[in-house]
């Protein structure tokens, strides 16, 4: 990558009017920096893998939560990886799949939204953001076919409609709007079951945070690749709310309290332990 041409001035690609998209600019100017444009050698590759993300709507916004575990085969690659990020001020993105690619993709997606905002002077609509993410996932299809898939969950506050919305994706870039709640990743089956039972209309933000934590606890209970809250090390899931006021990460103290409530609710009184 070079930022100057031979005379020292900014290259013409920089001063060419047109696209407000950083990804499009990169595709024209420095395609090797785009994750989907790299040639891959064949063969099996072991790389850290991120797991469960849950998202649910509540009255006035959304909650997104992700556990802190990354696995590589049967080994735990990381117990404090973060998989939920602010995409911009009014949206959050969580990622399951090959961790390295996913983090690169999130970084590019954050930059894409900020770049648009700076050049156009206005925010993209929530649907516009969701569609941009779909395009970027589609660009990764070649890697996904070699086993390096990235599956994000995107959610945000729609400023035009005045409510929170959730979008899920498949590896081919298919974009699906989800109602009420959704989960992705290896523990998603158990998390979805939990969300179905716990989610209801008119949740407030703090209850919604607790429902999200409980869904992750349920996922960690039955899925070896999902990490539960770690009391000894004080590692809590990453939980964030997005409302009209913007993205806000839930503090560790609030999460410790939410974990307490969930665990106290299922503490067994009998010696052999319960099935809850």
């Amino acid at each position: 990558m070079t930022l100057h041409d031979s005379s020292g001035r900014l290259p013409h690609a920089f001063t060419t009017p047109g696209s407000s998209s950083f990804v499009d600019f990169l595709a024209g100017y420095a395609p090797d920096l785009l994750p989907g444009h790299r040639a891959l050698p064949g063969g099996d590759l072991q790389a850290p893998h991120g797991t469960t993300i849950v998202a649910l709507t509540f009255d006035g916004g959304i909650v997104m939560a992700g556990d802190r575990r990354a696995t590589m085969g049967s080994m735990i690659a990381s117990r404090h990886i973060e998989k939920v990020f602010p995409a911009d001020e009014f949206s959050a993105v969580g990622i399951a799949g090959t961790a390295g690619l996913a983090i690169e993709l999130v970084r590019l997606f954050q930059l894409e939204l900020e770049h648009y905002e700076k050049i156009e002077g206005s925010l993209l609509s929530l649907d516009g953001k969701a569609n941009r993410l779909a395009t970027m996932i589609r660009g990764n299809l070649g890697m996904a076919m070699q086993g390096l898939a990235v599956v994000p969950l995107f959610a945000g506050y729609d400023l035009d409609r005045g409510r929170g919305r959730i979008f899920s994706y498949d590896v081919t870039g298919g974009r699906y709007e989800e109602q009420e709640h959704h989960a992705v990743g290896s523990g998603s089956v158990f998390a979805r079951g939990s969300l179905k039972k716990r989610w209801r209309h008119g949740l407030d933000a703090s209850t919604a945070v607790r429902v999200a934590v409980e869904a992750l606890v349920d996922a960690a209970d039955d899925d070896s690749a999902t990490g539960g809250p770690d009391r000894a090390r004080r590692i809590w899931p990453v939980v964030a709310t997005v409302t009209e006021a913007g993205y806000l990460r839930v503090t560790d103290d609030d999460l410790a309290a939410a974990v307490d409530v969930v665990e106290n609710g299922r503490r067994s009184t009998r010696r052999e332990g319960g099935a809850r």
Binding site: L3, L10, F14, E89, L108, L111, H115, I119, G121
Partner: protein, 244 residues
């Protein structure tokens, strides 16, 4: 055999410089000045969509006078430069100095090699964690760069306004004091004319606020700007219109 006209290089450069200067002097002035918690930008601009002051990166902003299409093009190039650099290295590696150099080379190359110079004057500003870390670079149509301290005025009547601003500015002003001075300077009249009072709707005002965690740039519009201009000495609250 016909003799081609000979134009000396001095004359050629002088003609280009005069041409660019004339274009720039037609525009309204932009005032940039440091205050205790950051750097403020103000200009008379009734448009809400066509900006002269913009965000480039987390702690870097851009202000320009002259031909809109030319500086808008440079602004977009600056955003692309900064975002590409931040993506390749890290966000902290994007500096105003690097951007000012890139702009200077671009302006200089266009001035000497193309038939028409860019009729623009730019300021690239980076806000530091402390006032001592603030950087203000002023770039001219010919690619010359000046490292300014405290304040800058560009555009039409820059010299007259610079005299007024230089007399009124001192380090450590509050935002309200700094903007009060800026608006007074922008509204001052040449010769013995009557000074104008500029309202919030006629002004484009933005700040690089050093107390903000990541993106320091914020536009001040509407009620918030009226509050600040109304002599309210308290720092602007969190109810700001989201930037930009």
């Amino acid at each position: 055999m016909s003799m081609p006209f000979y134009v000396s290089p001095e004359q050629l450069m002088k003609d280009r410089a005069d041409y660019a200067r004339k274009g720039i002097a037609r525009g309204r002035s932009v005032v940039v000045l440091q205050y205790d918690d950051g750097i403020a930008f103000a200009t008379e601009n009734p448009s809400r969509a066509l900006h002269k002051i913009s965000e480039i990166y987390d702690r870097i902003a851009f202000a320009a006078v002259g031909k809109y299409n030319e500086f808008e093009n440079l602004r977009v190039a600056g955003v692309r430069y900064a975002d590409l650099r931040g993506y390749s290295y890290d966000r902290v590696d994007v500096t105003a100095r690097g951007l000012a150099n890139a702009y200077a080379q671009t302006l200089g190359t266009v001035f000497t090699t193309e038939s028409k110079p860019l009729e623009v004057e730019l300021v690239v500003v980076e806000v530091g964690r402390e006032p001592a870390g603030d950087q203000i670079y002023r770039l001219s149509y010919d690619g010359s760069v000046a490292d300014e301290h405290g304040w800058v005025v560009m555009g039409g009547q820059a010299e007259r306004l610079a005299g007024l601003l230089g007399a009124g500015w001192r380090p450590g002003m509050t935002l309200a004091q700094a903007l009060g001075l800026a608006v007074q300077v922008l509204g001052s009249a040449a010769d013995d004319g009557e000074p104008r009072t500029l309202g919030a709707s006629q002004l484009e005002v933005a700040v690089l606020d050093r107390t903000r965690p990541r993106r320091a740039f914020r536009r001040l519009t509407g009620a918030l700007l009226e509050d600040v201009l109304g002599g309210d000495d308290s720092p602007p609250g969190g109810d700001a219109t989201p930037a930009p």
